[in-house]
């Protein structure tokens, strides 16, 4: 029987947030790309929370945008409400979060994909990868069709051998009742990929008509909406926003949960997968924090074309009837009607230690992966990995250098480095505390940090990159100027300071000294800075931040210098750690397994001590001399 046989450059498996970015990146770089999804109606689907961004995740979206990814643009077109979190804190932890219209988000992404040249969307389940001599040569679908290709990007999300659970009900499906992908795991294992099992969960969706919002606190969006994408004109997205609502659980809720714990598949031991501590089920919260009298719940809209409201903070895998009972104890949800049950989902994924920081498999040339398949959690975490995996698959096929964003360049770098280097025992979520150089890795300067890479790769246009360079120059010039402008202790200045609750001057100072005062900033000082030229907002913002926090920023830059030095010490790919006799056994085993690409990465592996690193440095030096000698 004749079977379908086609040839592409790149095959992307899965059209979630990671898959979409990977496929778009490859196609935009001119590679013939095909992306497979188990359902054309689930492209860029948001099966859990209806928002994009949030603390540290907002940073990821900005970085995706600066590299030429799609997520920021897509949410700017489809958000219902937007909020800059942590606005009262330092600029490094400001983070944008938007409520998404889930349906529109998905549709908009599909529209973009379908309008992209070189990109083919195909509904089918990929069941096999084809490998010859350690090189990817294609993929096969369950229907038997063969797709020859030179690179495969796996973005299977939570679909591999997925099962959804609540109470004693087990459904062998992916999220939202979609078809699970039950065959690919075996092919991966046959090709030497080590699999593991994680779990996550989601709360119920409730019909908004059954909710009494008068018993809840209304939560509004920001008055002035800030876009995610550096390409979005802020004026174009100011619009009426949809509200969220805040309510709380109470002792009664907790009592019901405690009394029914034995019916939860997690506590009954039915679930084997490891869940994320960041998204604990309400069962977990009640058990782990018994002293807490109540837990916050945010009731969030899922979209303009549905009545469904997402009950954030109350994910669960309790039986259906217990779900009703517990939701009904919450003020405003007394008569709640469930539209979709809460459930836990288990799925196959990998330990990302099997990947290089480029997201290519160490053992299979041309095989890349991103997203929840790599053991992460969250749409944004997935999208940025998909983007990097896609870019690197393309770089490989185009014969160009693959990219690695390091820990000092972006949250993306922190996330990927953590995934491929550290022991990861739960779905990994981004957190700002994981970024050691976070004062430099702000959401406001993602374009300044990463556009160069995006441009070199070919996803950022010349025109856009020129503006970033121009912006850089304007910032530098203006910083130089404010550091030299003298402000005298004259009457006009003193009156100005007094009006702003700031201590009057005793002697003249530089304008930059006044910017540093907590109660003042660059913008408000325009009044006593007559020579100032009108600059765009994003330039002014950078000048203000860089001057105000200069001391902290400079300290961190010094740390980065040191970090870079170690990061630049490459470890040859063919190193045999058994030759390095003085390494402690534990270190030797870990290094052999993880095969770090540089000394910096080696030093972050748990079980590798500073003395092991010293030994390694000496060994590398010796090896270098020897190879130079032979050459």
């Amino acid at each position: 029987m004749a079977v379908v046989e086609e040839t592409y450059d790149v095959v992307v498996v899965g059209a979630g947030h990671a898959g979409c970015e990977a496929a778009l990146a490859c196609a935009r770089l001119g590679l013939e790309t095909i992306i497979f999804t188990v359902s054309m109606d689930s492209v860029a689907m948001m099966p859990c929370n209806p928002n994009i961004g949030g603390s540290s995740k907002g940073h990821l979206v900005r970085e995706i945008d600066a590299l030429g990814g799609q997520m920021g643009i897509n949410i700017d077109k489809t958000f219902l409400q937007s909020k800059m979190l942590n606005k009262s804190k330092g600029p490094a932890v400001h983070s944008l979060r938007a409520q998404a219209d889930k349906q529109m988000y998905s549709l908009e992404m599909r529209k973009t994909m379908q309008a992209t040249e070189h990109l083919t969307l195909r509904q089918a389940e990929v069941s096999e990868i084809l490998v010859e001599d350690g090189q990817i040569v294609g993929a096969k679908t369950f229907s038997g069709a063969t797709y020859h290709c030179r690179a495969v990007v796996l973005c299977t999300g939570t679909y591999l051998k997925a099962r959804c659970l609540y109470g004693d009900v087990i459904e062998y499906t992916g999220p939202n009742g979609l078809k699970a992908a039950n065959h690919l795991t075996d092919s991966l294992i046959a090709n030497g990929v080590e699999m593991m099992r994680f779990k996550t969960g989601t709360p119920a969706r409730i019909d908004r008509r059954s909710i009494d919002f008068s018993k809840m606190e209304e939560q509004f969006g920001d008055e002035r909406i800030v876009p995610f994408s550096f390409t979005t004109d802020p004026e174009s997205i100011q619009k009426d926003q949809v509200s969220c609502y805040l309510t709380y659980t109470n002792e009664k809720t907790h009592e019901i949960i405690r009394n029914n714990l034995d019916k939860s598949p997690i506590y009954a031991g039915i679930i084997e997968g490891t869940g994320p501590r960041y998204c604990p089920s309400i069962e977990d919260k009640v058990v782990k924090f018994p002293d807490k009298e109540r837990h916050q719940l945010f009731i969030e809209p899922e979209g303009l074309y549905t009545n469904e409201m997402y009950i954030s903070g109350m994910s669960s895998s309790m039986p259906e009837n217990v779900q009703y009972d517990m939701y009904h104890t919450v003020p405003g949800l007394e008569h709640a009607k469930i539209v979709r049950n809460a459930y836990a989902i288990e799925y196959d994924c990998i330990n990302a230690n099997q990947l290089y920081a480029t997201l290519e498999f160490k053992k299979i040339h041309g095989l890349f992966s991103g997203g929840q398949f790599n053991g992460s959690s969250g749409y944004e975490e997935a999208a940025c990995q998909g983007l990097i995996a896609g870019i690197n698959a393309a770089m490989e096929l185009l014969g160009k250098d693959q990219i690695v964003i390091d820990r000092s360049e972006g949250y993306i770098g922190v996330l990927i480095d953590d995934l491929v280097t550290k022991e990861n025992r739960e779905p990994y979520r981004m957190m700002t505390s994981r970024a050691e150089y976070r004062l430099l890795l702000r959401q406001d300067n993602a374009d300044l940090r990463l556009s160069k890479i995006g441009h070199e790769v070919g996803l950022i246009s010349d025109e856009r990159y020129e503006w970033v360079m121009k912006k850089e120059q304007l910032i530098a010039e203006e910083m130089e100027r404010v550091k030299h402008i003298n402000i005298g202790a004259n009457a006009r200045v003193q009156t100005f300071l007094e009006a702003h609750g700031s201590v009057p001057l005793t002697t003249g100072v530089k304008l930059s000294d006044l910017i540093c005062r907590p109660e003042l900033d660059y913008d408000c000082l325009a009044e006593i800075d007559p020579e100032r030229v009108q600059l765009p907002y994003d330039v002014r913002e950078q000048v203000n931040i860089n001057i105000k926090y200069e001391g902290y920023i400079e300290r961190q830059k010094k740390q980065v210098e040191h970090f870079k030095k170690i990061e630049e010490k490459k470890i040859p790919e063919n190193i045999n750690y058994d030759d390095v006799a003085s390494l402690r056994i534990e270190a030797r085993q870990k290094l052999s397994k993880l095969r770090p690409i540089n000394i910096g990465q080696a030093s972050r592996i748990s079980g590798v001590s500073p003395a092991d690193i010293s030994v390694l440095l000496v060994y590398l030096e010796q090896a270098k001399y020897q190879s130079e000698h032979q050459a």
Binding site: G90, C279, P280, H295, G313, S433, A581, S582, D612
Partner: protein, 457 residues
């Protein structure tokens, strides 16, 4: 070159002859040394491979008369600028100068670091790489064990609790930043400010106890031996000039005594393992001298207490037998010299031992004893454990580093910047303290966040 920062360490094992060398290597070696060294020609003007005579100053205070040799890179062992300070004021001075160098910007050298630098900078032939690697790993193992063994139990408990408290604060800040809608930081800066004061006070106390050599089981490892009720505990009380509540006759009455420290002038006696003394009693009376010998062989100084009002018996003879090998650093104390003397000095000095008549009742002879110990120490008859000082200096360096990080947090609070700026410096303090107890950081913070604060969607 990977490292350009400046390292310092005692290069010779400090001997009690009072002479020792401190080696400093790195970009700032000359500047750092010059800031504490006064001589006719300033250090930076000296030509390479010359020696200069001068004095080490701590501020206004003259600490030691020294010879300083200068070797400019690349013509030095490490191929970096190297300064060697030849001191002769004794080991305490050596220690003090080292600590001064740390304060001026040098940091303690890691295991085998001078050699490592020499190798990486191309000074050492690559055929010797194997031995360089072995050196690094063996020195590391040694220093790690030293550090662990010598850290006193009280100190490590204190450090652990302090670290825990600091981590808790970071976790609180971080969880509020990650989940601002659940956890609020209102009024937190003030609360933190007073907590930092408390942490800092605790650190300050630890730092001054490092100055007193009290951090470690350091000092002269001293064992007091003798039959029961000859006055061993009274001796301890008298040496430390204070009346102790607990005397050692009742087994298990105290564990504190395990860590007992006594200062005599510049010298610290670390009365080791008084439980051992008790065991010595048992051993003498019941089991024999085998175990006593073990504890004696570990001692730098042995104080053998004899009741001069009671005739020597078989037990005394057995003790004396075991002291034979250790006679150079043993002092016999003829206690109860105020009573009727049955045992005379000559009965004991025939073994070649130093004998001092004392009375724990009226305190006579104690000054003579103290002088004898001081004399023996500076003449090299007894020595302190060398590694201890080095460990102690490293610990002190890290404690001070932690304290500086806390001071930066204070600055940030006073400046009125937001809470996210506090976390980095708090974490630095946490890591410095962790290096003392030898605990890696790993995912401590994330674990603390999730275990202490309920957050997440």
């Amino acid at each position: 070159m990977l490292h350009t920062d400046t390292i310092a360490a005692i290069a010779t094992y400090p001997s009690n002859s009072g002479i020792g060398i401190i080696r400093v290597s790195g970009d700032d070696a000359i500047a750092i040394c010059e800031s504490i060294f006064k001589s006719k020609v300033p250090l930076h003007e000296m030509s390479t491979h010359t020696i200069s005579y001068g004095f080490i100053f701590d501020g206004e205070e003259k600490i030691d008369e020294v010879l300083v040799s200068l070797m400019r890179g690349p013509r030095s062992y490490t191929m970096e600028d190297v300064v060697e300070i030849n001191c002769h004021g004794g080991i305490f001075i050596l220690q003090r100068i080292l600590s001064l160098l740390f304060r001026k910007g040098a940091r303690p050298a890691e295991a085998g670091e001078f050699t490592k630098r020499a190798f990486l900078n191309g000074r050492i032939d690559l055929t010797q790489a194997e031995s360089v690697m072995d050196l690094i790993s063996s020195e590391n193992e040694k220093s790690r064990q030293n550090s662990m063994n010598q850290l006193s139990g009280v100190l490590s408990a204190k450090l652990r609790s302090l670290r825990g408290a600091i981590l808790h604060e970071v976790a609180y800040i971080e969880s509020a930043l990650d989940d601002p809608e659940h956890i609020s930081l209102d009024g937190y800066a003030d609360a933190l400010s007073s907590k930092i004061d408390d942490f800092s006070n605790q650190l300050q106390r630890l730092i001054s106890s490092a100055d007193d050599g009290m951090l470690l089981k350091s000092g002269i490892r001293t064992v007091i031996v003798g039959k029961p009720n000859v006055g061993k505990s009274s001796l301890l009380n008298m040496l430390s000039n204070k009346e102790r509540a607990i005397v050692t006759d009742i087994p298990g009455t105290t564990r504190d005594i395990l860590e007992e420290k006594v200062r005599i002038g510049d010298i610290t006696l670390h009365i080791m393992d008084t439980a051992g003394i008790r065991q010595t009693d048992d051993v003498v009376e019941q089991i024999g001298v085998r175990k006593a010998e073990d504890s004696l062989s570990e001692a730098d100084l042995i104080l053998y207490v004899v009741d001069s009002s009671v005739a020597l018996d078989e037990n005394d003879r057995r003790i004396q037998e075991s002291l034979k090998e250790h006679y150079t650093h043993t002092i016999v104390l003829l206690n109860k010299s105020d009573l009727n003397q049955v045992v005379l000095e000559d009965d004991l000095s025939s073994y070649g031992l130093t004998v001092i008549p004392v009375s724990m009742m009226d305190g006579s002879g104690v000054e003579v004893l103290k002088n004898a110990i001081t004399h023996m120490f500076f003449h090299g008859d007894i020595s302190a454990n060398d590694d201890l000082m080095i460990t102690n200096e490293r610990h002190k360096f890290l404690l001070e580093q932690a304290n500086r990080s806390l001071a930066l947090v204070k600055d940030s609070i006073d400046l009125g910047v937001s809470e996210d700026f506090f976390a980095g410096d708090l974490m630095d303090a946490y890591e410095s303290l962790g290096s003392i107890v030898g605990e890696a950081v790993e995912d401590d913070l994330v674990n603390e966040i999730f275990s202490k604060f309920c957050m997440g969607k």
